[in-house]
Symmetry: C2
Subunit: 155 residues, 2 copies
Amino acid sequence: MEPFCARRKSAPPSIENCAEQLVSTIPLVMRALRKEMRAHRPEELSIPQFRTMIYLERHVGVSISDVADHHGLALSSTSQLIDGLVKRQYVTREIAEGDRRRAIVSLTAHGKTILASAREQAQARMAERLALLSPEELQTLATVLQAFDRIFARG
Amino acid sequence: MEPFCARRKSAPPSIENCAEQLVSTIPLVMRALRKEMRAHRPEELSIPQFRTMIYLERHVGVSISDVADHHGLALSSTSQLIDGLVKRQYVTREIAEGDRRRAIVSLTAHGKTILASAREQAQARMAERLALLSPEELQTLATVLQAFDRIFARG
DNA sequence: TATTGTTATACTCTATAACTATA
DNA sequence: TATAGTTATAGAGTATAACAATA
């Protein structure tokens, strides 16, 4: 059974066809991801919370505006998102030295632990799904995800 | 320039790597999709509303439970989702003949018009992004979306 | 008793508008 | 005046729990 290779030789898909399928399929994947994040407690994180914490892990000394810009969110939305994380003591909010308007957001030690565990869980669950792919499909997936990062980055 | 083929010959990506990138990239795509849906008024639809209406278009005579099952949502969430569509007169809710517990949901003529327009807009916007892909990437995308449908279908 | 659906309640996510504090 | 952030308000999406109606 070679639908993958067979398809590669047939007529190329049109952009319109791909767009149509994208619109119906991406929410499917997103829902699965959200569900996995929610299903594996304790200390579950929502997707935006999770992504924010990943960003904070990689970028030290960032402000709330930085987070908002990175995620393409309104400043107020980001402020509230951070609120939730501060309440749970996963991150801290501190006034920046040198510019008292800026609020510097940082992961706490507890936040780092939670993040590591959430990432492990989410990835493990998604990996279970991906294990259903053929090696060729996995290869094409890697290619597509890189392309997605390129064309969907920043809003 | 053959990054696609070149990559196909190199070490295969691990499932774990793919899962990791999936977790960070899918929300990116989802956000872009949501934004496109919202950006192009009038009569914007949310993603769940949009997907529900697509389902209703293809499946006539379904109940609220059917919609809930199809989308992997709680019955109460679905009931409220339908509420919103009924309020806008995009769908109707009627008691089923033969089983008065069931609520049959159907698109109205107005709903069909709205759906057609929303679909057109969303697809056009996503197509703009996809136009940035190489033909090879577009081909791999088609493959991946089909695989996604397979492994992420139904929750 | 089991199924279908609604309502009540409570989160999170997100936005806009109005505001404060700082530069 | 412009920038960074918060607060108020609002609507969507989602869940669980309690409930009503029907089978």
